[in-house]
Amino acid sequence: MCLAVPGRVLRIEERDGTKMADVDFGGVIKEVCLEYLPDLEVGEYAIVHVGFALQRLDEESARRTLELFAGLGILQEEFGDPWEAAVAMGRTAGGAETGVEEVRR
C-alpha cells in the first residue's frame, strides 16, 4: 500500500482556495496539495502520496538513521564478538541520538 515518495518543496501558493505546492522528485515537478501540512516551507522535504503531502520528512532523523547503519559494522569490528556488539547497540539504540526512537505506552 501507499507508494509515497519524498519530494522537495519548490514553491507554495493558494490555488482555488487550496494550499498547493510544486514539489521536485529528482527533477520531476508535480503539483501537490499541502492542506494536511499547512506549515511546510519551501526547501523542506515531504512524504507525498497520490498528490498529497502527508508528513514532513525529518532530514536530521534521516541523517542519524544512516549514521546508525554505518556504525553497525564498525562497532562489531571494535567489539569483536558480534552478539556483544548487538547487545551494546541495543543499550544505545533507545535514544534520539541514534535516530531510532522507541515508543512505549
Partner: protein
C-alpha cells in the same frame, strides 16, 4: 433500493483446451494491452496474424524482414504511430514516424534508403498543425538520411481519430556479411545498451492527461542508422540489435532471450537511468526497465569484440553513455534475470500489457 443480482461463480479458464492457434483466451475484444508490446501483443501475432498470413518471413517476427530481391538483400519494415499528444518534449509524432521505421531497419543492420508515409487525418484537424508536422517529418527524414518516396492521405470523421495517425514503411540495403538475428546469440555474449533508458516514455507521460508533471526530460527520439554503421565498422559479427521501444528494455531482452533460447543476466546497477526517469518512476510506481525509448539500442556482441564495439559506440554522439549491462548465459534459457544492487536476483518478465501507475 435496487434488485439483488445473483451472479454465478467465475468460470475457470480451461488450459487443457489451450493449443495453438486458437482464439484468444478470455478476450472477445481488443483491449489497450494488445498494443502494449508485451505478452498480449505477442498473442495477437501468434494467434491471429501469423496463422492467417502464413509465410516464412513473418515467422521471424523481427521488427523488420530481410528479403532477397533481384540479387540484393533488403530490409523492409513498417510501423504505425498513434501517440498522444502529437507534440511532446523533445519531438512529435512526425519524428517518431521517421525514426521508428529507420531504427527498425537499423536493427537489422540496414541503412534506411526510402520511406513511404501514410497519413490518417481526423476531420477538424488544424491545417497549421498538419503543416508543422509535415515540416518536422521532412526535417527528421533529412537528418536520418532517408527519402520519403511515396505517400497517402485519408480523412476520417471527427471523433474517429486523435487528430492524426501516421504509418511509415521503409526499405534499406543490407551490407554484405551482416546477419543480425537473436538466433545467433550464444551464452557468453556481452549485452550493451547505447545510453540512458526511459527518457521517451517519461517525456510522453509528463504531458499525458491525468498524469501531467513538469520534467526537464526530453524524448530521446533519434535515428540510429549512423550509430549502427559505426558499430558494424568495428566488426560485422554483431549477433543481434534491438531498439527497446514499447515495453522498454525488459521487452527487448525478453524477446531476444526467448528467440535465442539463452538466459540473460543484467546487472541492475549498470543500467544507466537518469535522475528524472528514476524520479518519475518512483512517483508513479513504475519500473524504468519497462519504460519506452526511441533513440536507444541494445546489442548482443561476441565477448572478443565487446570492448572495441563499446569504444566505437562511445565515440558516436548517440552512444556516448553506452554501457555493458550484462551477458547471455546458459542457465534459465528464455528468462531475463536481474542481479539487484543488494546482490539478490529477480526475474525481469515480459510486460503484460500497458504499465499502470500504482498507488501502493
Amino acid at each position: 433500493m435496487s434488485d439483488t443480482i445473483e451472479r454465478p461463480p467465475a468460470e475457470q479458464p480451461d488450459l487443457t483446451a489451450w493449443t495453438c492457434p486458437l482464439p484468444l483466451r478470455d478476450q472477445t475484444r481488443v483491449v489497450m494491452g494488445h498494443g502494449g508490446g508485451g505478452v498480449m501483443s505477442a498473442e495477437l501475432v501468434d494467434h491471429v496474424f501469423a496463422p492467417a498470413f502464413g509465410g516464412p518471413l513473418l515467422a521471424g517476427l523481427g521488427d523488420s524482414a530481410v528479403l532477397e530481391l533481384g540479387g540484393a538483400r533488403l530490409a523492409f519494415s513498417t510501423d504505425s504511430f498513434v501517440v498522444r499528444p502529437l507534440f511532446f518534449p523533445g519531438g512529435s509524432i512526425a519524428d517518431l514516424a521517421v525514426n521508428g521505421t529507420v531504427n527498425d531497419l537499423a536493427m537489422s543492420g540496414a541503412r534506411a534508403a526510402y520511406l513511404s508515409c501514410g497519413f490518417i487525418l481526423e476531420e477538424g484537424l488544424e491545417l497549421s498543425v498538419l503543416g508543422r508536422l509535415a515540416e518536422a517529418l521532412g526535417a527528421a527524414a533529412r537528418a536520418a538520411g532517408v527519402e520519403v518516396a511515396t505517400g497517402d492521405t485519408k480523412v476520417v470523421e471527427a471523433g474517429h481519430g486523435d487528430g492524426l495517425y501516421i504509418n511509415t514503411a521503409g526499405i534499406g540495403l543490407l551490407p554484405p556479411g551482416v546477419d543480425l538475428r537473436p538466433q545467433r546469440v550464444v551464452p557468453g555474449d556481452v549485452v550493451i545498451v547505447s545510453g540512458a533508458i526511459g527518457l521517451h516514455g517519461v517525456a510522453i507521460m509528463s504531458v499525458r492527461e491525468g498524469l501531467e508533471f513538469g520534467a526537464c526530460v526530453e524524448s530521446d527520439c533519434a535515428p540510429l542508422g549512423g550509430l549502427v554503421e559505426a558499430m558494424l565498422a568495428v566488426t560485422t559479427d554483431l549477433h543481434v540489435l534491438r531498439d527497446p521501444t514499447r515495453g522498454g528494455l525488459a521487452a527487448a531482452l525478453n524477446e531476444i532471450a526467448g528467440a535465442a533460447g539463452v538466459g540473460v543476466v543484467v546487472q541492475e546497477r549498470r543500467v544507466p537511468v537518469p535522475a528524472p526517469v528514476a524520479g518519475a518512476c518512483a512517483m508513479l510506481g513504475l519500473d524504468p526497465f519497462y519504460v519506452a525509448n526511441e533513440g536507444k539500442l541494445v546489442a548482443f556482441v561476441p565477448r572478443e569484440h565487446a570492448e572495441a564495439v563499446l569504444a566505437a559506440m562511445r565515440a558516436h554522439p548517440l552512444g556516448a553513455e553506452a554501457a555493458v549491462i550484462g551477458e547471455a548465459v546458459e542457465a534459465h534459457p528464455g528468462m531475463v534475470v536481474a542481479r539487484t544492487g543488494l546482490g539478490g536476483t529477480r526475474v525481469v518478465d515480459l510486460p503484460l500489457g500497458e504499465q499502470l501507475p500504482r498507488i501502493c
